[in-house]
Symmetry: C2
Subunit: 201 residues, 2 copies
């Protein structure tokens, strides 16, 4: 039996941190792993910025709730869900993604979580497990699924390579150049054509 | 992080084979593992009955499409999905469940599959993996999830016992008698109260 796993941001949703930075006007929240390569240092800095600006989880969720899925994302996801099981594998935090997952009809999302105190302050972040996308693919293969994976960026490579079949969706050109052997789809029509082929018996 | 896994038939959906038997008027399709304890013998007999009656997958799916989820199931499922990830673990076949999963908003379903030829004849059934419910719980625990499981019957026991926390939903009294240590919920309000407690930090 086949199963699809997919990345979230850049595939079905806009980049959450970048949009929170734009909506709140806090430029420093635009920092990414391109600016600070150590993810732990980056996240610790992000949480400190939220604290300095007195932003609680409710404030962030309100900002995120004003965002929308990428145009066509709901329809593409529904198209997939009527043909296959799909599980979203993301390195986001479930408390951030929740308002947007509602707009996508709550597909299953495996990601990370935040520690939030009674006042709504984000006191810590918890990576559920390291290299979670690849490990999820391997777990589903262990349950005898043939796994088809797609994503848009470097943190999807291990997932795509571990999967039985995998490809890129709307990747930056740098990623395509670095991984020329991985096939590329560039919009939802190409995605559907690719999945139609891969899901056929 | 917590995750919910749940059975399907008797929890969110009516029993599919029994309803197919009633709708088609083919009494013999009501046979269950209580009548023929060997599942392989039972399924082989069921597929032979479908063939004798010239029933193809399209006919069965049309019958199943006339069924509805149990009253309140969609609302209960949406309540859970807005609070936690939930994955449905069922021993049904995805080709049978599909018309009803659409009515539930396509929650992720891990189950088994059928072999169907080009004419729509069901030529075989494929159990994806033995003891799949328990193995799925263990796989999610391996991904560092705290798993909460519920179901209604004997084929849910291994899943409930493997989970970090588990309980029955609307079980037959025989099951309750045989497993007195497993807590019982009897309707969606009790289910929600139980999950509210188990999902609280």
């Amino acid at each position: 039996m086949k199963m699809v796993v997919a990345d979230l941001e850049g595939v079905f949703l806009p980049e959450i941190w970048i949009n929170v930075a734009q909506k709140t006007g806090i430029e420093e929240l635009k920092l990414t792993t391109r600016d600070i390569s150590d993810y732990d240092v980056l996240m610790t800095r992000r949480l400190a910025i939220l604290k300095e600006n007195h932003l609680k989880i409710q404030d962030i969720q309100e900002v995120i709730a004003t965002l929308d899925p990428l145009p066509g994302a709901e329809q593409a996801l529904d198209w997939i869900r009527s043909r296959s099981q799909i599980i979203v594998l993301s390195d986001t935090f479930e408390e951030f993604a929740k308002p947007l997952m509602a707009k996508l009809g709550f597909p299953t999302l495996l990601c990370h979580s935040l520690t939030i105190d009674a006042q709504g302050n984000i006191t810590n972040y918890n990576l559920r497990i390291g290299n979670q996308k690849k490990k999820a693919v391997q777990a589903f293969q262990g349950l005898n699924f043939h796994v088809i994976a797609f994503g848009d960026s470097y943190n999807d490579i291990a997932m795509i390579q571990a999967a039985d079949q995998g490809f890129f969706f709307k990747p930056p050109e740098t990623v395509v150049t670095d991984f020329p052997d991985i096939q590329v789809t560039r919009d939802y029509e190409e995605l559907k054509a690719m999945l139609h082929g891969l899901l056929s018996p």
